[in-house]
Symmetry: C2
Subunit: 336 residues, 2 copies
């Protein structure tokens, strides 16, 4: 039997030949190092992307130089906000690590594509699960994580305007994470951008323009929930060429919903099976059923959505009266 | 057929005769009104319980008088921390509402008993679900919510010292909620305190010592997850007299786990069926499987627990190195 068919088999997530050759570090102006570790004090950054409109730690300069552990949740640190037009667009790198902790490992950048209307704790949690899985099962080291909200041209019901969705993702990342960022590039495109091209954009920004991470080309991988993966099995949703590009050139971290069977799906899907070594299945050990659709419905019904998404995002939604007057037809979103 | 057996029947949650008679408001020094509503600016309280050790909004007095919406998540507002000994114990009331928004309604105080080792987003979310259900289906108005962590004498595996558990609950409430509080009374008792006596304590503090809320005796109700309710069906766990006291005199808000069938359980349980009008089943519309046991296990394994509980609690756990060296036998806590 092919060992990769064993239910306990963990694919080795190898770098496909030729796709991410190790290069000498180019002479590129690198952003400051931001550590992933939660237990390190974070100091407000002074990156060139900093924006005066960004909230700052309150208090005089005397006590603002170091932020205590207890405040990590609350205070945006050296953040840079995304522009609202392509003219002013800059790729965010303020939390992209520039050094590998373990020089034996390969740098990995994780990208989540989706609507994020609104972002929820499940979207945030997925990155943490992926980080644990990559650390545990691969020779890669995660050096950055990005949300790439889809543009308004996607025209999905319940889609708030893209600048709202970008800002909500930013609020969530700024205030709860020490490594996640938001890239507005896809959301700013005048037309819908295929996921393969979004990943090309990340490759271009990180590996071509910036020469990779710590002297190596970074692997870019798509972080996907079970829904996205299932859509890959539906006809006429994804072009074969795109799937080959996404799975063969980049790769995919699939968060497996408890009860679903991603591995069987992988086995049944010709293109995915071909590229199975570029697919890492991340098991969801704590089941979580939060969906943006349910969150929008709760808001419409005047129900509490607290603890389903960060408070900062809830306040933003209230402030901008998002979703409250939605009239999207709500399919059967409530569990039995 | 008894209409209460209909699967769509919502029990009216009536006040049992004689248990909570309406009284004239006594001359009691009441704490400042703290609104439940999230969309109202919160001003740091100046209650007598205030403690200088409590974190304050950063910034000069010029800008501290009003806290912007975006900061609600972050800044503790007029909070009072619980003492670490019974001698210094004071019942916390700084977020207990003193006025009903709707004078036609009955005041209701919700109490959650448990280990909270550590508190998670599910523990926090349960209160929000209960609040929505009470508002939607009853003639009660929630005027306060309390966590009552069990004392160390409970001797359950994985139980961090009670002062840690109290503080973690406090951190979670202070920084994420505008209405939840923590009462250390039960945790400070030299022996294990039965739940019926814990509810008596709340009744004593709120209805006897303080004369109720807005001129009326407040209903005290136990907020319980499915596990606690199922334990009520097991022999030798609860004394019948206690169940009669809890369900007859007070009442119970049961958060029903998706897939479980609390209503059938209610039907089968003689004492619960007798008091079914004091039981409100709160449906969990978004399934969530976070458990403290899993959180402790993840911590032991060095895995991320972010977005399963507030960051402030995660930092506290790291700071005090809780759970990391636990050796409790972990039963099969991972979902298949």
């Amino acid at each position: 039997m092919d060992p990769s068919l064993d239910p306990n088999f963990v694919p080795p997530l190898e770098v496909p030949e030729g796709s991410v050759p190790v290069m000498q570090p180019p002479a590129v102006d690198m952003p400051p190092i931001v550590e992933l570790a939660l237990d390190e004090d974070m100091v407000p950054g002074e990156g060139k992307n900093d924006d005066d409109s960004v909230p700052r730690p309150r208090g005089g300069s005397n006590n603002a130089s170091r932020i205590s552990l207890g405040d990590l949740e609350e205070i945006p640190r050296g953040i840079s906000r995304q522009a609202r037009s392509l003219d002013d667009y800059e790729f965010p790198t303020y939390r992209l690590r520039t050094r590998l902790k373990d020089p034996e490992k390969h740098p990995l950048v994780v990208v989540a594509c989706g609507s994020f209307s609104p972002i929820t704790y499940l979207h945030l949690r997925m990155f943490e699960m992926a980080l644990d899985a990559v650390t545990e099962s691969t020779r890669f080291e995660v050096v950055g994580g990005y949300y790439s909200p889809v543009s308004d041209n996607y025209r999905k019901p319940g889609l708030a305007e893209s600048h709202h969705r970008v800002r909500m993702c930013e609020l969530a990342c700024e205030r709860t994470s020490s490594w996640l960022m938001v890239d507005a590039w896809e959301s700013l495109q005048p037309t819908y951008t295929r996921t393969s091209l979004v990943l090309d954009h990340f490759n271009e920004e990180i590996n071509v323009k910036r020469g990779g991470i710590d002297g190596r080309k970074a692997r870019i991988m798509l972080l996907a929930g079970g829904d996205l993966i299932e859509s890959m099995g539906e006809p006429n949703v994804w072009a074969d060429a795109d799937l080959h590009h996404i799975l063969g050139w980049y790769g995919c971290l699939i968060v497996e919903r408890t009860g679903s069977d991603v591995r069987n799906f992988l086995l049944s899907h010709d293109i995915m099976y071909e590229h199975r070594k570029n697919v890492l299945v991340v098991k969801q050990l704590i089941y979580n059923d939060i969906s943006s659709t349910k969150v929008r419905l709760f808001i419409r019904r005047g129900m509490s959505v607290q603890y389903l998404l960060p408070n900062s995002v809830i306040h933003y939604i209230r402030q901008h009266q998002l979703y409250i007057n939605d009239s999207e037809p709500v399919k059967m979103v409530l569990t039995k």
